[in-house]
Every structure is written in C-alpha cells, then in structure tokens.
C-alpha cells in the first residue's frame, strides 16, 4: 500500500505522460486541421469576393466607397481631427474611473442608514445607462450653455465630455460593483476581525481584489468610449467622424468614412487584443489556483 504522497506523485507522472502523448497526437491532428481551416477560408473568401463583385450594384459601390484617391485625400484632415477624439477619450477615461468607483462604493454600502445614498447611486446608474448617449450630449451641449449662467463654460467639447463621463460612469460603476460583489464576504469579515475599519477593509482588502478582477470588462467599456467620442461631432465640433461627413458630403462619396473607420480600428483593435490577453492571463491564474 503506497503512502498518500506516493500515490499523488504517481498520478501526477501518469497524467503528465498522457498529456504529452495526446499533445503529440494533437500536433498531427493540428497539421491536418490547419490545412482544412486554410482550405475552407480560401473557399469562403473566394465565394464572398465573387458574390460581391458580381452583384448588380458593385460598380456603383466601388466608385462611391472604394475610390483610393478619395480615401487617401480625405485621410490627412480626418487624422488631424482624430487627435481630438483621442484627447477626449483619454481625459474622460480618468474622470470615469474615479466617478464610477465612487458610485459603485456608494451602491455597495451596507445597512439601512445608507439607503438614501444607495438609492441615489442606483437611480444615477439607471438614468445614465438608460438615456441614449447622443441625447445626453445634445441636451448638455446645446442646453447647458443656453442657460447663459456666468461661469458656466460654453465649450461644446467640454459639455460633450461631461456627457460621456456621466453616461460611461453609469456603465463602469456596474462593472466595479460586480467586482466588489464577487469578493467573498469572508474577506471583509477577516479584515474586520484583524481590526481594520470598514473603510480600511474596503480600501486595503476588497477593492484591490475587486478591481483586478474587472480590468478586462473595464477595458471593454473603454473600447466603447473610444468609439462614442464620434458622437461629439453632433454638436458641430469637427472630430474624425464629422470631418469624414464633411468630406463625404463634398464629393457625394463614402471613402472618407472608410478612412475614419480605419483610424478608430487602429486604436480599438490593440485595446481589444490587450483585453483578450488580460482575460486569458486571469483565467490561467485562477486555474492555477492562485488568489485572484
């Protein structure tokens, strides 16, 4: 009768060996799989290309959407305007992270005393997420300056930024809250039993775990924010989308839209890949049994 430890070691060796074996087999299968995947991709792309280029409207679509001169001539102006999108994105992001955390903490406060704060935070995230972003921006951008109060900025970029911060804080607060609630109550109990105050427990024990868990969904929201900076254009501010509309309306073609789309994609795809990588890393860590 082998000891408990021996048996575990044996099992480990065996499973490692079988993993190796199946890995080899997988490799052979993999080569075949790659070949099949390649073939089906080629067939798929060929069929799509043929179907699109044979369609009745293709010559018109090619002329209006895919004129290279049109795309490249509109690109410099749109790229210049895109700087504003990036600026708005970066500045708003900072404010959103702070404001949303505050709302999430308010929403997670326990006990009947804090009911008004909880209710306020709940109403806020419901409203912020419920009203279409474009309406919030239009209402603030044209409405707030119309009050003509002294000291209230007239800048449309400012109010559009405020609109984005208000809306996205609603979303991001919910992400934070999910993170906070995913931390087991025993963590707080343990922290409190060590003599930490409620605030200290939140600051030192709960939030560090919660925030680390929600980084991928947070980045997901920032990809959304980056795209929604295009809504600032509805206030007349010339950012990338508005500039592409100007170019499109000047020539009655759509190449400028493709140029703008390429710029947005150039930012959002790296962000998306980063998010994927963070999610994968997080999963690896959790499967390895490490503390989150």
């Amino acid at each position: 009768m082998a000891s408990e430890g021996d048996r575990r070691a044996d099992t480990e060796v065996a499973s490692r060996r079988s993993r190796l074996l199946s890995g080899l087999r997988l490799e052979a299968e993999g080569a075949k799989g790659v070949a099949i995947a390649l073939l089906s991709t080629v067939v798929f792309v060929a069929v799509v290309v043929v179907a699109v280029t044979q369609s009745a409207g293709w010559p018109e679509v090619r002329r209006t959407f895919f004129d290279w001169g049109d795309i490249s001539s509109s690109f410099p102006d749109i790229a210049k305007a895109f700087v504003l999108n990036v600026k708005i994105f970066l500045v708003c992001e900072v404010f959103i992270l702070v404001l949303a955390l505050l709302i999430a903490v308010l929403r997670s406060l326990p006990g009947p005393v804090f009911f008004p704060l909880r209710a306020l935070a709940t109403i806020y995230s419901d409203l912020a997420r419920g009203v279409p972003t474009i309406l919030v921006i239009a209402l603030l951008g044209f409405g707030a300056p119309a009050l003509q109060l002294t000291g209230v900025p007239r800048s449309r970029v400012f109010w559009a930024g405020v609109g984005l911060i208000l809306v996205y804080s609603g979303y991001v607060a919910e992400v934070y809250r999910a993170g906070i609630e995913s931390v087991h109550p025993s963590q707080e109990a343990a922290a409190r039993s060590l003599g930490l105050s409620r605030f200290q427990a939140l600051r030192r024990v709960i939030l560090p775990q919660a925030i680390r868990r929600v980084i991928p969904p947070l980045l997901n929201d920032f990809i959304g924010l980056q795209k929604d900076t295009a809504l600032v254009g509805t206030l007349g501010v010339i950012e990338a989308f508005n500039q592409s509309q100007i170019d499109s309306n000047a020539t009655f073609t759509y190449g400028a839209y493709l140029a703008a789309a390429a710029l947005f994609v150039a930012i959002t795809i790296p962000l998306a890949r980063l998010t994927d990588w963070l999610i994968a890393r997080d999963r690896r860590r959790r499967q390895a049994g490490a503390l989150a």
Partner: protein, 316 residues
C-alpha cells in the same frame, strides 16, 4: 497501483475526446462556410438585370416617355423640415415648419412650374422626404429629382446628375447683434472669429478656402443645431446661403443680423436639382428650366419669394 492506471486511461480518453471535439468544430465550421457561401452566391446573382436601366436616353420629353419612379407621377424629394423661404404654407403632417405641397416658397414654386411645363397637373406631383444624405446614396432612388438647396460641384456631379441652375446663390454670414464680429465689414476681418456652417453645404468649404479663420470652424448636422449654437454664442458667426440667412434672422435668431454677403466667385455657385446618375429625365427638366428662365418665370418667382435676399451689403 491500480488507480494511476485508470487515471492514465481516463486522461487518454479525455485527450481523444478533445481531439474529437476539434473535429466536430472543423466540421461545424465547414458547414457554416458552405451555408454562408450558398447564401452569398444567392444574393449576388439576384436582379442583375435591373442595373443600367437609368442610363437610357429618352428621345422625347412627352409625359408618357419620361423615366419616372412611379409612372404618371412626378415624385419630388426634399428634406423635412422644409424651411422658408424655399418652402412656404402652413405645415401639415408629415411636413414640419412649412409644406412643400403648398406651391409656396421658391423651391416648391419652381418644382410645380417645372412639373407644369412637363405636363403634370398639380395633383400629379408627389413630395417625398429625402434627407440630404439620402439624396446621393448609391442604389435606386425613391424620387425623380430632389430639390433641397444642393449646390452643384464638379466632384458631386461625378456621383449624381444635376439639373442646370434654378438659383444662383451667394454665401453670407449671420451674427448676433452687439457682438464684436458685428462690426466687421471685410472678409479678412472675419479671420479671428469662430465660424460655423451646416453639414453638406458648401459654406464650410467657403470658410476653409476663402475666409481661412484662425479658429477651427464648426459644422452642424442640422439647421437647428447651427442656429442654437449661434444663439448660445458658441459660435460667433454662421455662414449660410443668403436667402436662408434672412430666414434665420427673421424667425430663428431674433437677435441676429445678416452681416453681409460674400462677393460672387467667378463662375458662381448655383443650386441644382439632384437626379440618379445618368437619368434621362435631366434633359427634359433642363428644357423646362430653360423655358422658365427665358419667359421670365424664374425671375418672377425669385422676386416673389426671395426678394428680401438682395438687400445685404457685400463684404469686401
């Protein structure tokens, strides 16, 4: 030692399961590809025959020979709301601010005059809502022509067909009374101010090419947005065509003033009706416009609806 053995068998089973699952994945993907391919091929092959039917040239401009969206009816497009002085009359649903069906306002009157010359009775003219962006969208049109203060440019004429001019237009600038910009009398004097224009107009191009302001200009997707920004003093001046400028100051911005019009460019700028590229109807509408120009009808209609738009000082 029996447990490790069964363990190994278990993990082998798992591995082979994993492999099999990969197979079903590939199989699934292949099926999806095949279905997509079939669907795409089906989409691609439909109604190829309908292409190019707009390219034919009609030999006559008799009412029966015209290339129309709905035979027997002249379908005219414009944006909603339809603003004075281009459109007039009391608004009836679905039209806002004014009613193109009234025959009042310059563009409505011109459209009915052209229709009459082509042989259409007033009740054979149908108006349809065509947002500016839709007027040049590729694909089949739901209007015979669109009349919506659209300026002719050579680049635009590559994508759609324009009629001849039905109005030669000047750009102008509207400002708030009592603001610093209201004292400006020259084009170069406008440089330090923040100017706005409406999206899709040639006014933005005018600001950029002719005024070259030091502050980034604004471009608004709608008339309402542009007017609100001027009222809020978020912009100092709004560049619009002259007849629209007089409507803006008369109705939309009570504290507004038409600062002046810009000197006409060589060759000038004009509004044209927009048609699907190559529509044979263009030549018949052009014939009608020539008749209306020669017999003084266009002049008369301008007197009637756009008379105010002549009294603005020219900025040097």
């Amino acid at each position: 030692m029996s447990e490790p053995l069964s363990d190994r068998r278990g993990s082998q089973l798992l591995a082979s399961l994993r492999v099999r699952r990969r197979h079903t994945h590939l199989l699934g993907a292949a099926v999806v590809v095949a279905v997509l391919a079939a669907v795409a091929a089906g989409c691609g092959s439909t109604k190829k025959s309908s292409a190019g039917s707009t390219g034919t040239t009609a030999s006559s401009c008799a009412k029966g020979d015209l290339n129309l969206v709905t035979p027997g009816t002249l379908t005219v497009g414009t944006d909603n709301p339809a603003f004075p002085p281009w459109f007039g009359g009391t608004p009836h649903k679905p039209w806002q601010v004014s009613d193109p069906r009234s025959g009042e306002g310059y563009e409505s009157a011109v459209a009915y005059a052209v229709a009459k010359d082509l042989g259409f009775a007033k009740n054979e003219v149908k108006w349809t809502h065509v947002p500016f962006n839709t007027s040049f969208a590729p694909g089949p049109k739901n209007f015979d022509f669109d009349i919506n203060q659209i300026s002719y440019t050579a680049a635009r004429a590559k994508q759609v067909s324009f009629s001849d001019s039905y109005y030669d237009v000047n750009q102008s600038v509207v400002v708030n009374k009592g603001t610093p910009i209201a004292k400006v009398t020259t084009v170069s004097g406008l440089k330090p101010y923040s100017l706005g224009a409406q999206l899709g107009t040639t006014s933005y191009q005018f600001i950029k090419d002719k005024i070259k302001p030091s502050k980034q200009p604004s471009v608004f997707p709608s008339n309402a947005g542009a007017v609100q920004a001027l009222k809020n003093k978020q912009i100092d001046g709004l560049v619009v065509d002259l007849p629209t400028a007089f409507y803006v100051t008369a109705v939309q911005v009570p504290n507004g003033r038409v600062l002046g019009q810009f000197p006409a460019e060589p060759g000038g700028e004009h509004f044209g009706m927009v048609f699907a590229k190559g529509n044979s109807l263009v030549s018949c509408v052009n014939k009608a416009l020539t008749t209306l120009r020669n017999d003084g009808t266009l002049q008369q209609l301008q007197q009637k609806w756009l008379a105010k738009a002549t009294g603005a000082p020219t900025l040097k």
